[in-house]
């Protein structure tokens, strides 16, 4: 969870440009953001690897999870493995551990669980946000502005 205020559950695909824009706008609002993984591999082939990378970074500290998410969203053109390793080094994380854990079953399971919860909630595209169980309108950041 990130921030303070009304809780918003947000399903994002880390390789989705619309998610990046919405996330940047939402992060600036006084809200408690709960990120749920929703990688759409057929649309963004690198998405599963990016979500696994964020989870693996998070195993080395919650702060590292958010820093990895922000770093990916702010530079979606650099998402190959060497770019991820560069981020890991910059965040001062253990690279060997990161590489091991991002391919681990618990990390894959965590991402899969989020994805399946999104499907059950009716998510049909990213980004998608929910407040108190209700889906937020299409222009998420603008809709959330009234909440904050």
């Amino acid at each position: 969870m990130l921030g303070e205020g009304s809780e918003v559950i947000v399903y994002v695909d880390l390789a989705c440009p619309r998610c990046s824009l919405a996330w940047t706008r939402m992060s600036a609002l006084p809200l408690r953001l709960v990120l749920r993984h929703f990688p759409i591999a057929s649309k963004h082939p690198r998405a599963p690897a990016l979500h696994a990378a964020a989870e693996a970074a998070g195993l080395q500290g919650e702060g590292a999870f958010w820093e990895m998410v922000d770093s990916i969203f702010s530079d979606q053109g650099r998402v190959d493995d060497p770019h991820l390793w560069e981020r890991v080094r910059r965040l001062g994380l253990d690279l060997e551990r990161f590489n091991r854990e991002r391919r681990s079953e618990p990390v894959a399971e965590r991402v899969r669980r989020d994805f399946e919860s999104g499907i059950r909630a009716g998510v049909a595209g990213t980004p998608a946000a929910f407040v108190a169980g209700q889906a937020v309108g299409e222009d998420i950041a603008e809709s959330l502005r009234t909440l904050s």
């Binding site: 057929s42 998510v123 049909a124």
Partner: protein, 152 residues
Amino acid sequence: MIALGSRAPDFSLPNHEGKQVSLADYRGRNVVLVFYPLDFSPVCTDQLSIYQEVLPQIEEQGATLVGISVDSSWAHRAFRDKLGITITLLSDFEPKGAVIRSYGAYLDEVGHGNRSLVLVGPDGVVSWVHESPTPLEIPGANLIFDALEQDG
């Protein structure tokens, strides 16, 4: 839209390889017919990408998912390649939209199908339908799972 409990109109349409596929080929299985407007349009791309992600779970439930639009087989082939999806896509190209019309899902004013879902049971009878209020609204995959569970 076609009425619940009615017999699903049979059809034979070419897939992305030009091979004819009939509804009767699926007799004995649940079939989810996905009528959608057009290959490559942004909303359809999102819809089929999401359905591709849950295709294994749909098949685990003993169902087959089939997309139908007015696009040609060639367009379907390019669309599948672009998205890397394996969903069967059928071409209701000539006479244009005839099958989509037979399910009551054709939008005359725009010349393509409305975004709608039809579940055809193993006996060939329509057991569930969902029509989006507008072509811009994607029916979440949760609706398909709910329908399959209700049916099963």
